[in-house]
Structure formats: structure tokens, C-alpha cells
């Protein structure tokens, strides 16, 4: 009497499904993010969005109202009469811009630091990592709030602040990958062949770090977007003229009982964007190297 062979087949089928699942987890988020990008660019233009425009007659209309001029307020209007959908997409512009720029700056600076610390070791590593330790002693929101309040509200300041708070993750991941790669033969070969430091760092080590950096970048994008929203919510992020999703939510808190949609819907949009990047990051990590799994 034996165990039916179908158990093997069942596991095979599950493995197949898992593989297809990974591809779905990469394509669907990319589609969502793509939609956001398209929406952010196109929608405000379509709606002739003007951040300074107010129309008292149109304020606080619920989602699905048809406005007097014929347009359809799919998400309703806010406390000054702006169409919420257009405002959200405008806010998405801010989120995406801040997200991409901060990620670039933090990424470049962080990766460079990690490469230097990992490759040269010694006192350079020590100093850089101590600085990282001190920075990590600040909960990132705390540091961001402090810096933002000192520098004042402006789009560039937000980008700078967020870049400063987030470079450490990139540095650590890169450094740890460099330390792993250092003992690999192809890196030792390059060293023995007399390659210059520059060559080793850029041509040999960096390509090996791309995969984990990419994984971290997708996850950090989500964090960065949330951080910008939080700063704007508190009033220390983007300046008054620019509608961030965070500011919209903050403005809506005064009207929670009368117009719940102002605070609620932008949050869902944020969550959708961040969730997409999170799923994408997970799937990329599974694709590249399951051993990189953190939490």
C-alpha cells in the first residue's frame, strides 16, 4: 500500500502557480503605478486645475455629483469647491515627484557611501557607519519634522529632508552586499589583476549590488511617499500653494462629519500607490534572490 503519487503532482501544480503568481505580482503593480503617473500628468490638465481657484457654490459636494457646468465630480468637491479627483491627481504629481527625486538623491548618496565603506573598510567604514548609527537613533519622522521645520516649507526642502532621512538604508544594504561580494573569486581576481579602486568599485562591485538596491528602492519609494504625506499633513511639508495628498487629508479633518470624502479618498490613493510598490518590491526580491528576504 503506498501514498498516492498525486501528492507529488499537487506540489508541482502549486509550484507552477507560485511562478505565475510572481509575474502577476510584478505586472499588476507596474500597471497601477503607470496609471498613477498617467493620471498625475493628464488629469489636472484635463480638469483645468488651478490651485488658487475657489468656488463657494460648489464646495463640499459628495462623490458622484454632476456639477452645474456639466462635469462629473467623481470624487466630489472639497471645502473650497475644487474637484477632489483633480486635486488628488495633482497631489499624486507631488508624491511622485518628491518620491522619485528623493529616492534618486538618497540612493546615489547612500549607494556611494555603502560602496566606499564596504570596499575600503577601516576608518572610513567606521566613521561612515557611526554617522549612520547616530542618524538611525532618530526615528525618521522625527528627524524629518525637525529638519523641515528648520528649513521652512518648500518643495525642494521636502526633497532634501526626505533624502537625508533615507540614505542610510541604501548605504547599509550596499555595504553589506559589498562585504559579501568581496570574498567572491571574481572580485579577488580583479584585485589581483591590479585593477584600480575606481574600476573595482564601479565595474566589479556595483553591478553585483544592483539587485538588492532595486529591491530596497521599490520599498523605500513607498516609505518616501508616506513621509512626504505625513510632513504635509503636519504642515511642515510642501508650501500652501501646492496640493499634496497629505495637505488635502489634513484640510479634510475639519469637515469629517459633513464631507468625509475629502480626508478618506486621498488616503486610499496613497495606500494603493504604496501597496503597489511594496508588492513589486517583494516580487522583485523573490525573483532575484529569496535569500534577501527580510521582513
Amino acid at each position: 500500500m503506498t501514498v498516492p503519487p498525486t501528492i507529488a503532482m499537487q506540489t508541482m501544480r502549486r509550484a507552477h502557480r507560485a511562478r505565475r503568481g510572481v509575474t502577476a505580482r510584478i505586472t499588476i503593480p507596474l500597471v497601477v503605478i503607470g496609471l498613477f503617473m498617467v493620471g498625475a500628468v493628464v488629469v489636472p490638465i484635463l480638469y483645468h486645475f488651478d490651485p488658487l481657484h475657489t468656488d463657494v457654490l460648489l464646495r463640499l459636494k459628495p462623490p458622484g455629483t454632476t456639477l452645474p457646468d456639466g462635469s462629473f465630480a467623481i470624487f466630489g468637491t472639497d471645502q473650497v469647491g475644487q474637484d477632489l479627483f483633480a486635486q488628488m491627481m495633482m497631489g499624486a504629481r507631488v508624491s511622485l515627484t518628491v518620491g522619485v527625486c528623493s529616492l534618486l538623491f538618497a540612493g546615489v548618496f547612500g549607494v556611494l557611501t555603502g560602496l566606499l565603506a564596504g570596499h575600503f573598510g577601516g576608518w572610513i567604514d567606521n566613521v561612515l557607519m557611526r554617522i549612520a548609527d547616530v542618524q538611525l537613533a532618530f526615528p525618521s519622522i522625527l528627524l524629518a519634522i525637525l529638519l523641515a521645520s528648520v528649513l521652512g516649507p518648500s518643495l525642494w526642502n521636502v526633497i532634501v529632508v526626505i533624502s537625508i532621512t533615507n540614505w542610510v538604508v541604501f548605504a547599509r544594504v550596499t555595504r553589506s552586499q559589498v562585504l559579501t561580494l568581496r570574498s567572491r573569486e571574481y572580485v579577488e581576481a580583479a584585485r589581483t589583476l591590479g585593477a584600480s579602486h575606481w574600476h573595482i568599485i564601479v565595474r566589479t562591485l556595483l553591478p553585483g549590488c544592483v539587485a538588492p538596491i532595486l529591491v530596497v528602492a521599490t520599498v523605500e519609494f513607498g516609505h518616501v511617499v508616506l513621509l512626504e504625506a505625513a510632513l504635509s499633513f503636519l504642515g511642515v511639508g510642501v508650501p500652501l500653494g501646492i496640493p499634496s495628498l497629505g495637505t488635502t487629508i489634513s484640510n479634510g479633518t475639519a469637515y469629517l462629519s459633513t464631507a468625509w470624502w475629502i480626508s478618506t479618498l486621498p488616503g486610499i490613493a496613497l495606500a494603493a500607490l504604496v501597496l503597489s510598490t511594496g508588492v513589486l518590491g517583494d516580487a522583485l526580491r523573490d525573483r532575484f534572490d529569496p535569500k534577501l528576504r527580510s521582513a
Binding site: 548609527d133 532618530f138 522625527l142 503636519l234 487629508i249 479634510g252 469629517l256 496613497l270 495606500a271 521582513a295
Partner: protein, 307 residues
């Protein structure tokens, strides 16, 4: 263990010094002149100069720094110009509230996450696991402040079950604690799950099975203890995020804690108070991490008894 403890304490002290210094530098970046702010718009140049002297701003930067550090060690951050009282005293008044919030949030998170993560690991890749993992990912994607607002909307405005602000009664704690705990729960669940999954592949788990022990004993006795070790360290690191979350949650719910004090003092440009709040919060984080490090040394005999 002693050597390990000493090293960790020294590192913590160094980081605390670094924190204090960084706060000093950042606050000095302020473009406007604090003396002008304190004196008021209509003040004469002489009045401003007097105030500047009183605040010690006419001294060279280094002297200011040393004075500041000396003060920080004593817990003296000067006077809050908004409230007219010593900054530290004001922080001290609200610190217990924030501590309560953080402690309850942490406890709630641990109580919920550990069993959930364990469950997900035991039913890996099956429905329960997928549900838990997806829920965690979703929760982590939600903006913390938005969660607070939505909870307030649903439970305070719509259902009128719970208070939305302040700390008037014990049930005013419920919404803030849940808001603060949610992201923590999400991360902790995922960490517990992955920590357990890593451990289950280890050789000593096979040995435990070969001893004929029941699967329950294998997981609870042999796997859990080993899996918990890295999770404990990560809890310490994530506690910082909890504190950051507390800052925002307190603002949303007008909860009288250090976070709310911080935000209002920032908006009021009351830099002495800002410094006090930031340093206290960062110090709390450093101390918690130190405790976690020591706990880690205790849990893992390989670290404790390294030759």
C-alpha cells in the same frame, strides 16, 4: 556578558552625544534670529541685544555648544518662550502619557503579532498564510495619520462610540493606541513569520523530529526560541518607528503627549522646547535599543559566551 554590556552602554552613550550634537546643529540652521522671535516684532535693538545676551547667543558657537551639552546632561534645555517655563519641565509633564501610549501600543502589537506570525509560518503558502501576509502588506501601506483620521471618523463621528480627542477618560486611549500599534503589528507579524520559516529549515529541527517529538513541541520549544532572537532585535529597531508614529497620532487625536508638544512647539518656533522634545524622544529610542541589545545577549548564548 559583562564585556558585551559595557561595549553596548558605551556605544549608546556615544550615540546619545551624537543625537544631542545633531539637534544643536540643526536648530542653529534656523534662518531667523531666535532673539528677535523672543523679543517680539516691536523690540528695540537694545532689547534684542539684552535678550541675546541672556540667551547666551552672543557667545562663540563652541562655548554655546559646550554650555548646551552641559545643560543637556543635567536635563536643562532652557526656557520655553511660549509657556515661560523650563522646557524640560513641560516635557516631563506629558512624557508619562506618551510612554503609556508607546507601552500599550507595543504590548498590543506583540500580543497580536506573535501568534499571527506563528500561525502564518505553520500554514505557509496556504490560505491562512496568504491572508495574513496580504493583510500585513496592506496595513503597512496605509498612511498612519490617515488611519487615525478614518478611525476617528468611524468610531467617534459615525458610531459615537469613542472620544476623538484628549485624554479625558480611559477609552480615549483606545483609538490612539490602535492607530500607533497597527503598522507595528504588520511589521512584527511578517518578521515573526519569516524568522520562524528560516529556523524551521535548520538541522536541529530535523534532529528534534528524529527524537520523536510532536510537531507542536518541535515548533514551540525548539524553533520559537531561536526564531525569537532576531525578531527581538528588530523590535528594538522598529520601536523608533513606533515613537515616530506616536508623534503623528498624538497630533491627529490631540493627545497630550510629547509628540503633540513637539509639533506645536515647531509651529511656534519655540526652539528650546523643540530641542527638549527631540532629545527626549531620541534618547528613549537609544535606551530601548540598548535594552534590546542586552536582552539579545541574554537570549543567545553564542553571543553571551563568545570565547
Amino acid at each position: 556578558m559583562l564585556g558585551y554590556t559595557i561595549r553596548r552602554v558605551l556605544l549608546a552613550a556615544f550615540v546619545l552625544w551624537g543625537v544631542v550634537t545633531v539637534v544643536f546643529i540643526i536648530v542653529r540652521l534656523v534662518p531667523s534670529d531666535p532673539a528677535v522671535l523672543v523679543a517680539g516684532i516691536d523690540a528695540t535693538p537694545e532689547q534684542i541685544a539684552t535678550i541675546r545676551e541672556r540667551m547666551g547667543l552672543d557667545q562663540p558657537l563652541l562655548i554655546q555648544y559646550l554650555g548646551y551639552v552641559a545643560g543637556a546632561v543635567r536635563g536643562d534645555f532652557g526656557t520655553s518662550y511660549t509657556y515661560g517655563a523650563p522646557a524640560m519641565e513641560l516635557v516631563g509633564e506629558v512624557l508619562p502619557n506618551t510612554a503609556l501610549l508607546a507601552f500599550l501600543g507595543c504590548t498590543l502589537a506583540v500580543i497580536v503579532s506573535f501568534p499571527l506570525g506563528l500561525l502564518a509560518a505553520l500554514r505557509v503558502n496556504r490560505f491562512t498564510d496568504r491572508a495574513v501576509t496580504t493583510a500585513s502588506l496592506l496595513t503597512q501601506s496605509l498612511p498612519g495619520f490617515w488611519v487615525g483620521v478614518v478611525l476617528m471618523l468611524v468610531f467617534s463621528q459615525m458610531l459615537r462610540l469613542l472620544p476623538s480627542a484628549g485624554l479625558g477618560s480611559p477609552d480615549a486611549l483606545i483609538l490612539p493606541v490602535v492607530t500607533v500599534a497597527l503598522p507595528f503589528i504588520a511589521i512584527l507579524t511578517r518578521m515573526t513569520r519569516s524568522g520562524l520559516l528560516e529556523v524551521v529549515g535548520e538541522g536541529y529541527i530535523t534532529t528534534a523530529r528524529a527524537k520523536g517529538l510532536s510537531e507542536r513541541i518541535v515548533i514551540l520549544t525548539h524553533a520559537a526560541r531561536n526564531a525569537l532572537i532576531p525578531v527581538v532585535t528588530l523590535v528594538g529597531l522598529e520601536f523608533g518607528a513606533l515613537l515616530g508614529g506616536a508623534v503623528i497620532t498624538e497630533t491627529v487625536f490631540s493627545f497630550p503627549g510629547v509628540g503633540k508638544l513637539l509639533v506645536s512647539s515647531i509651529l511656534a518656533r519655540d526652539y528650546n522646547l523643540v530641542q527638549a522634545c527631540v532629545v527626549i524622544i531620541a534618547a528613549a529610542f537609544v535606551i530601548v535599543n540598548l535594552l534590546v541589545d542586552l536582552l539579545y545577549g541574554y537570549l543567545d548564548p553564542r553571543v553571551r559566551l563568545a570565547k
